[in-house]
């Protein structure tokens, strides 16, 4: 990369906590964010559990009038971005040189379903003029830019569960190539809705462990039976190193490299040997000019579906060889659920917190490991380790793979 890229702000809202520090305490304590669905009545649904942001009250975070014009996914992005931008203390930085890319896999599913019900029950004339602007997935980036007067590049990445990671990768590219100095980026998602849950459940992608929600998300465990849908946002502020140094910003970590590939294999199933994931991780290592032994912790995609976890571990073994047994590979989705398009953003925040603190969050519910998942998966209890570099994987339906390497900033 032509310019070095550092992280100067972070924000998070997720089922384990609102705000980075609350979330981080929860993750290290193994707090479980999964429970029965309360956002709608799931009585007729195959899956009746989810990881909801349960202590979220709109008025605590947003002007209620403005919030009425935002789907829940946009509200989460606003909350996460406000925290990240506050930490970055952008001050009088040139607004034309600060951009926003916030990915969302699905966009405004809540408003889509409400308005469809209106169309069906009351007719076309009753569909709200706010339906389209509230529903489109790019509105999170749009409204964050309006709120904070950020006038640089502005758009949304859509690549299912890799959307947030793509947003960070694209942002790094824009800064590296001099098209912006600062980027507010990450992912947001809020699709715990009747349609989305029915759709995912009927794909047989979701856990149906409805009687034991707290045990449902169990990456790498033999008893895993699908992912648990989560919601929230994870946002970071990326910045050109020289720009950050010149304004005396506190530097939290450095983006070292990333790899982007496509499986070209199947709509929803990952490649069985993780071929695309392997190439993404290798490309990230090459950009970072690192060896496999340089990576201390992998924040796995680790969705708790039978296929993902097995394929991802196989891919890591191909890339890292013997070194795979020396690193830690955990999945925080065991606690947060799967935040879909927000996952890459949130897990970047988690990776940076791990780098800074030397604490690695556990993979909870890992009591009977799948024999194919035989790495150090940080089972059940947080670990301590000296971390210099972390790799975060994100894979999306459609065969989109992103591997992102974040390193400690060492001047």
């Amino acid at each position: 990369m032509q310019r070095r890229i550092v992280v100067t702000g972070m924000g998070a809202i997720c089922p384990v906590g609102i705000g980075v520090s609350t979330m981080w305490e929860g993750l290290l304590a193994g707090r479980n964010g999964v429970g029965p669905i309360t956002l709608f009545d799931p009585a007729e649904h195959r899956t009746k559990i989810a990881a909801e942001v349960s202590d979220y009250k709109v008025a605590d975070h947003l002007d209620p009038k403005e919030a009425k014009r935002m789907d829940r996914f946009t509200q989460f992005a606003m909350v996460g971005a406000a925290e990240a931008i506050k930490q970055a203390e952008l001050g009088d930085s040139d607004r034309n040189r600060i951009g926003v890319i916030i990915g969302s896999g699905i966009g405004g599913m809540n408003v889509y379903e409400q308005q469809h019900n209106l169309l069906r029950d009351k007719g076309a004339r009753r569909v709200s003029p706010l339906f389209i602007p509230m529903m489109i997935g790019d509105m999170a980036a749009g409204l964050v830019s309006i709120e904070h007067d950020l006038r640089g590049p502005n758009y949304c990445t859509v690549s299912a569960c890799a959307s947030g990671a793509h947003a960070i990768g694209d942002s790094a590219l824009l800064i590296a190539n001099g098209m912006a100095d600062v980027m507010v980026c990450g992912g947001t998602e809020a699709t715990i809705t009747p349609m989305a849950v029915a759709g995912f459940a009927n794909m047989k992608a979701m856990s149906t462990r409805n009687d034991e929600p707290e045990l449902a998300s169990r990456p790498f465990d033999k008893g895993r039976d699908g992912f648990v849908i989560g919601e929230g946002a994870g946002i970071v502020v990326l910045e050109d190193l020289e720009h950050a140094v010149a304004r005396g910003a506190k530097i939290l970590a450095e983006i070292r490299g990333f790899g982007l590939t496509g499986d070209a294999y199947h709509m929803t199933a990952p490649h069985p040997e993780g071929e695309g994931a392997v190439r993404a991780m290798r490309a990230a290592l090459a950009m970072a000019q690192m060896q496999p032994t340089d990576i201390d912790y992998i924040n796995a995609h680790g969705t708790s579906t039978p296929l993902n976890d097995k394929g991802e571990v196989a891919a890591v073994k191909q890339v890292f060889g013997d070194a795979a047994y020396d690193l830690r590979m955990g999945s925080t989705k065991s606690m947060t659920g799967h935040l879909l398009g927000a996952a890459g953003g949130l897990e970047t925040v988690i990776s940076i917190m791990a780098l800074q603190s030397g604490d690695i969050p556990p993979t909870i519910n890992l009591t009977d490991p799948d024999p194919d998942c035989d790495l150090d998966h940080v089972a059940n209890v947080a670990a301590k380790a000296e971390l210099k570099a972390v790799l975060s994987n994100s894979f999306g339906f459609g065969g989109h793979n992103v591997a992102l390497i974040i390193g400690r900033y060492e001047g």
């Binding site: 209620p64 009038k65 009425k68 014009r69 004339r125 009753r126 709200s128 003029p129 706010l130 602007p133």
Partner: protein
């Protein structure tokens, strides 16, 4: 008329999040009450729902103040 005024005010208060004192008959939706074009479409839809009348687009464009909306609705209800 008084009943229409109260109901119109209530709808505006709910939709635009403004205080009832701000909602005078002379108040302009856009200039005084902070509405934008999307708010006005939604307000018109709420008026239609509440009073069970149909407000054609040409008429809706003329509703720029609270008073003009009250006047229009009063007439539309009388014509029903």
């Amino acid at each position: 008329m008084a009943e229409i005024v109260n109901e119109v005010k209530q709808i505006i208060e709910d939709k635009l999040g403004v205080n009832s004192e701000q909602i005078t008959m002379e108040a302009s939706f856009i200039d005084d009450l902070g509405a934008d074009s999307l708010d006005i479409v939604e307000l018109v839809m709420d008026f239609e729902d509440k009073f069970d009348v149909e407000i054609p687009d040409e008429a809706a464009e003329g509703l720029r103040t609270v008073g003009s909306a009250v006047e229009y609705l009063d007439k539309a209800l009388a014509d029903k």
